[in-house]
């Protein structure tokens, strides 16, 4: 077994900072400690101004007037950690959370697949970086030792259990004992490092500090087992993000939305999953939210494609009040193997067509795209029907029908007993009597003719025999 620990030292800051475009103002994460608002984490640009963790917020603002102070949100951090654990499923099936800001991956079984430790560790680091998270990585044969190595910032890779005592020997006691009475007690004994602790007799340590300390040492060295619950990735992807600065302009949402979609896309690709629907909530200042739902013709894992569709939708959304946050939630993650189950079967061009349909529907509305088919009815206006694009109709064609049908028959003038449309109409061919539909109340009794108007256009006209005055109507054009 080989465990990799990914420690995210700036998780709280990264959660928000990655939603801001490059070149934004210096930022710090703030929280209240012992009753006053202070800096918990500071980014590089803030550090340049001398802002560092522990400083009070007012002092930090005095040092750096343009500073963006982002309040810490532990829920957001936990959710981000779980999404990253979900993403990490691409490297191994055993991912464990090490809250609040680390995760553990059992990579012993993945080394061969990913071409060795160096490549695998490099791949994980780059992947996290691309998603906008800074991580420190370390490996060790036990999960606890890996966590210590990562959290100490040493980023060491310890290959075997024999090498473990040596690898952890120079780590400071802080990795294992939280600040407080026990730490001062150990310091009082002259113990500074894990190595110092290992050199002490175990039963003495146990008597003085309780069994937990000895137990931790044993778990780290692999003397006793250290079972960890394996993280179960959720069935849906959900990412909620508070915006670094609220905005009324929906185009300003595209950057943070793109980051969330990148994350979705990375999770999907890593786990061979696709989504067929997405739901986006724009949280407005004060009360209320605006919903944007997206249903796709073809399931996809492509974040850029999803962003393009959402961009079309967002262009027409007016939230009314400034947007303060985004919630992106996917439909159930589908297995990518089922991807061929599309509307149009596996023929080539289906993907392009579904992409086209998705784009058209996203901008024009669901009902704006349709197919047509002939229907089995003798009444001309009912001899066709709307169907879903790509569906074949139930009936065949019929001869002698015009290419254009008027949505509603248009009443024609009659002059000296003949139909008239910008001139007299010349009827040609034989009359076609259509009588049908008496049983459903939509009965018709008509005599259809082809007609030629003065300009030579060919029309489809009828005389309504059901009415007493036997009016003439224009019903179609032989275009």
């Amino acid at each position: 077994m080989l465990w990799l620990c990914a420690w995210l030292p700036r998780l709280g800051l990264d959660c928000i900072d990655r939603l801001r475009e490059a070149g934004a103002a210096p930022a710090v994460l703030t929280g209240s400690r012992s009753g006053r608002e202070q800096v918990l984490l500071a980014d590089e640009r803030a550090r340049v101004h001398g802002v560092h963790p522990g400083l009070s917020l007012s002092a930090a603002l005095a040092l750096c007037p343009g500073l963006a102070a982002l309040p810490r949100n532990e829920q957001t951090e936990r959710a981000a950690l779980e999404r990253l654990a979900s993403w990490a499923g691409r490297f191994t099936s055993r991912v464990c959370l090490a809250p609040p800001d680390a995760m553990l991956l059992e990579i012993g079984g993945s080394l061969v697949l990913f071409g060795g430790l160096e490549k695998l560790v490099g791949g994980i680091g780059q992947g996290l970086e691309a998603l906008g998270y800074r991580a420190l990585l370390a490996t060790a044969p036990t999960p606890l030792a890996a966590e210590w190595l990562a959290r100490s910032g040493s980023c060491r890779h310890c290959p075997s259990r024999e090498a473990l005592p040596g690898a952890v020997a120079d780590l400071p006691l802080g990795v294992l004992v939280p600040e407080g009475r026990d730490r001062s007690g150990l310091a009082g004994m002259g113990l500074r490092t894990v190595g110092d602790l290992l050199a002490q007799p175990r039963d003495g340590l146990g008597r003085r500090f309780g069994p937990w300390l000895v137990d931790a040492l044993d778990r780290a060295l692999g003397v006793v087992p250290d079972p960890r619950p394996v993280f179960e990735p959720p069935a849906r992807f959900r990412a909620a993000a508070e915006l670094p600065s609220e905005t009324a302009d929906t185009t300003a949402l595209l950057f943070p939305l793109g980051r969330l979609l990148d994350e979705l896309s990375a999770v999907l690709q890593g786990r061979c999953r696709v989504v067929q629907s997405l739901h986006l909530e724009l949280c407005r200042r004060g009360e209320g939210k605006t919903d944007v739902s997206l249903a796709l013709g073809r399931a996809t894992a492509d974040g850029t494609y999803l962003l393009a569709l959402l961009r079309e939708r967002l262009e027409r959304v007016r939230p009314g009040a400034p947007v303060t946050g985004l919630v992106l939630e996917s439909g159930v993650l589908l297995s990518a193997a089922g991807e061929s189950g599309t509307l149009f079967g596996p023929d080539t061009g289906a993907a392009e067509l579904e992409a086209l349909l998705d784009r058209l529907r996203a901008r024009l509305g669901e009902a704006a795209v349709e197919g047509i088919a002939p229907a089995a009815d003798h009444r001309p206006e009912r001899a066709w029907c709307r169907v879903a694009a790509g569906q074949a109709g139930p009936a065949g064609g019929s001869d002698g029908r015009p290419l254009w049908l008027l949505p509603e028959p248009r009443r024609l003038e009659t002059r000296s007993g003949r139909p008239w449309l910008d001139g007299p109409l010349r009827l040609s061919g034989r009359a076609e009597r259509i009588e049908s539909g008496w049983w459903d109340g939509g009965g018709i009794r008509r005599e259809y003719y082809r007609a030629l108007d003065a300009a030579g256009a060919r029309l489809w006209v009828y005389r309504d025999l059901a009415m007493e005055d036997e009016q003439w109507y224009l019903h179609g054009l032989f275009a």
């Binding site: 024009l364 088919a373 109709g393 064609g397 275009a479």
Partner: protein, 222 residues
């Protein structure tokens, strides 16, 4: 080397050589009318380009002119997109002319700018064999965009426009006027065509006589 380059250039769809109406790019869809094909570069409607059909009056045969080509494309599995048709394309007649309707898309935009956008998307998608549109207002810049989209998607872009726009500049590869004339011999009409613009050729007049394409027989369409 130089010859190869020249040859490569000649293969390029954007290039045409003066004095050559017929080329062997194969980038054309036969119209289905034996007297029309030889007049068109490539022997048919140009693929990857705009074709403008200029007409005065709905019902003059302007749609029937392109139906054989559209029916053939649909049977090859290519999609036919109708963007904002002025009337209902009548399914029984389309099927009777050999159209595979399951390959037809009707797109109903609400506004003119959405219509142009939808035409561009459909042309560019690479999945449509032909896109039909009836743009009301279309400035040269919009036409240029559509022309580029048609090139990108190797699609037949058919724009039905009033013949009044004949004098305006257009990037379309083919502009063809269509209107009915009374057939002196019979009772029906014939379709009079005037090619205003084609790649590698001057204007030409022709009329589709009775019987061609089964559309303009003496007593109306079949």
């Amino acid at each position: 080397m130089t010859e190869e380059r020249v040859e490569a250039l000649l293969q390029h769809g954007n290039l045409w050589r003066a004095g050559r109406t017929r080329d062997d790019r194969g980038g054309a869809v036969p119209t289905g009318f034996a007297t029309l094909d030889p007049e068109l570069p490539g022997g048919g409607w140009p693929r990857g380009a705009l074709t403008e059909i200029l007409f005065d009056r709905d019902g003059g045969g302007e749609l029937g002119l392109v139906m054989p080509a559209l029916a053939a494309l649909s049977r090859q599995g290519r999609w036919i997109a109708w963007v904002a048709p002025p009337y209902v394309p009548y399914a029984p007649a389309l099927v009777a002319l050999g159209m595979d309707l399951s390959r037809n898309l009707l797109i109903h935009p609400r506004r003119q700018d959405e219509a142009l956008w939808a035409v561009e998307q459909a042309l560019r998608s690479g999945t449509c064999g032909a896109v039909l549109a009836w743009p009301r207002l279309c400035d040269p810049r919009a036409l240029r965009r559509l022309q580029l989209a048609a090139e990108a998607g190797a699609c037949l872009g058919l724009l039905f426009r009033p013949s009044g726009v004949r004098g305006q500049a257009s990037p379309a590869a083919l502009r063809i006027g269509a209107g009915p004339v009374r057939d002196t011999a019979g009772q029906g009409t014939r379709l009079q065509l005037r090619i205003h613009k084609r790649r590698g050729g001057g204007p030409a007049d022709l009329s589709l006589a009775a019987g061609q394409g089964d559309l303009f027989t003496g007593d109306g369409p079949r």
